[in-house]
């Protein structure tokens, strides 16, 4: 794809663009950050205004963000007939967090079947969040006849290609990738030449000390090739990230927590809010895993991420629904 979705966005969002993108935005939201042991509060408007708008900007400061994944709005099968309710539960859990996130990353499979009704329902459920939500699509969000048209109609404003973009927040550079479009027979997830070229130019102006958070749906390392749990051309993306001191890669898709560290890159796979899947190779096939009712809440969850400048990797806290 060569068309950008109007309005074209630069690789760095300024505050106005950030706000215009975010459906879940509420102008009066408060941001709490831990700085030097002191809890401070400021309006998100002020916080974003004060944030660095340029690559390599120096105004890094501690903040919290959040990852939710695989809400699968519309799923109603045996593994969790109440996926809508557990998505609402996730929103309630986030609202109850002692440190509210500046922003939320949704790492895809927002819906189960890419219908407008499901996208609308997901928006309504997540509109209960005060922080802006940044989305990438999962393959379940790209299975309409238009192969992603529905997703892009709902979330594609200001993004490029099949929905990729980047933005900066308090010294951290966030990159949203789509690795579920135009998949090839026999392969796994795929980033594609056009997106890789964009990624190269997006990262080109950044200093190596800029912390990078890259988020996409399917794992960017090969978790289990037989189940397609990996990305064919991830090595090309990772080569572009090699020079950076701190790279955090967040994904969903496999509905379970997995971590892997490879040099400067830390990979983290998150739980779903909808249903679990088997551990890699632990079943004949992937897919929704039916567990005893009492066990289900222990296998669903959300993830908080705490960034403190100059302290190494971003600290993650996974919280189940149990």
């Amino acid at each position: 794809m060569h068309d950008d979705h109007a309005p074209p966005a630069p690789s760095v969002l300024d505050r106005r663009q950030l706000l215009s993108r975010c459906a879940g935005w509420a102008g009066t939201a408060a941001v709490y950050t831990m700085a030097g042991g002191t809890l401070s509060s400021t309006s998100l408007d002020q916080a974003l205004a004060a944030g660095p708008r340029h690559h390599g900007g120096g105004a890094a400061k501690p903040f919290t963000f959040l990852q939710i994944s695989d809400t699968h709005i519309g799923f109603d099968k045996a593994a969790n007939p109440h996926a809508r309710d557990t998505a609402i539960q996730a929103v309630e859990k986030i609202k109850a967090l002692p440190h509210q996130p500046d922003l939320i990353l949704h790492t895809g499979d927002i819906t189960h079947l890419s219908t407008d009704a499901q996208f609308d329902d997901a928006k309504q459920i997540l509109s209960g969040l005060s922080a802006p939500v940044f989305y990438v699509p999962g393959e379940h969000d790209f299975l309409d006849e238009g192969q992603g048209k529905a997703f892009l109609a709902h979330y594609g404003r200001g993004t490029k290609g099949t929905g990729w973009y980047s933005f900066d927040h308090y010294g951290v550079h966030f990159v949203a990738l789509n690795n579920v479009a135009n998949l090839k027979p026999g392969g796994m997830a795929h980033i594609g030449e056009e997106q890789l070229a964009w990624l190269k130019s997006d990262l080109a102006g950044l200093s190596a000390s800029t912390p990078i958070v890259l988020f996409g749906h399917i794992p960017l390392w090969t978790v289990y090739e037989q189940w397609g749990w990996g990305t064919d051309d991830s090595a090309q993306a990772l080569a572009l990230l090699r020079r950076f001191g701190s790279v955090t890669v967040l994904n969903g898709h496999i509905h379970q927590i997995l971590h892997k560290v490879e040099g400067n890159v830390a990979f983290h796979s998150a739980r779903s809010t909808a249903y679990p899947q088997p551990a890699p190779g632990a079943a004949a096939a992937p897919g929704p895993l039916k567990v005893p009712d009492a066990q289900l809440p222990t296998m669903l969850g959300i993830r908080s991420a705490h960034f403190v400048p100059g302290t190494g990797p971003i600290a993650l806290v996974d919280q189940s629904f149990a």
Partner: protein, 119 residues
């Protein structure tokens, strides 16, 4: 078990129209039209079962998704493709020429299958 697809149902009156004159022909012989060939492929456990099938020209192949995850049937050369199929959904395609037709699930591309059509 073969289930008539929407396309098969649409074609049924056409077959009847062609067959009828033959049945009342002057020779008095009943000439039955060649029965339409049908074959089913299950989609289960993130695989096409059977992964490869061989059928005569004119066969209608029906795929049935038995998984709890949606899948597609997408020809590698894009000559045919289903919409996303949720649990229990079916998709049929009639192969009218000989050849090997590779296909895959465009959502889970490690799932591949093949239809070999013999003339």
């Amino acid at each position: 078990m073969f289930c008539f697809s929407a396309s098969a149902r649409r074609l049924a009156p056409l077959f009847l129209g062609l067959a009828l004159p033959v049945l009342v022909g002057p020779s008095g012989a009943l000439v039955a039209a060649q029965p339409a060939q049908a074959q089913t492929v299950a989609i289960k456990g993130f695989a096409f079962v059977a992964q490869s099938i061989t059928v005569p020209v004119g066969t209608t192949v029906t795929w049935v998704n038995q998984d709890e995850d949606p899948h597609t049937v997408t020809a590698t050369d894009k000559s045919f493709h289903s919409a996303a199929m949720d649990t229990g959904d079916k998709y049929s395609f009639t192969f009218t020429r000989a050849g090997e037709f590779a296909y895959f699930c465009s959502l889970h591309p490690h799932m591949t299958g093949k239809v070999i059509v013999k003339g």
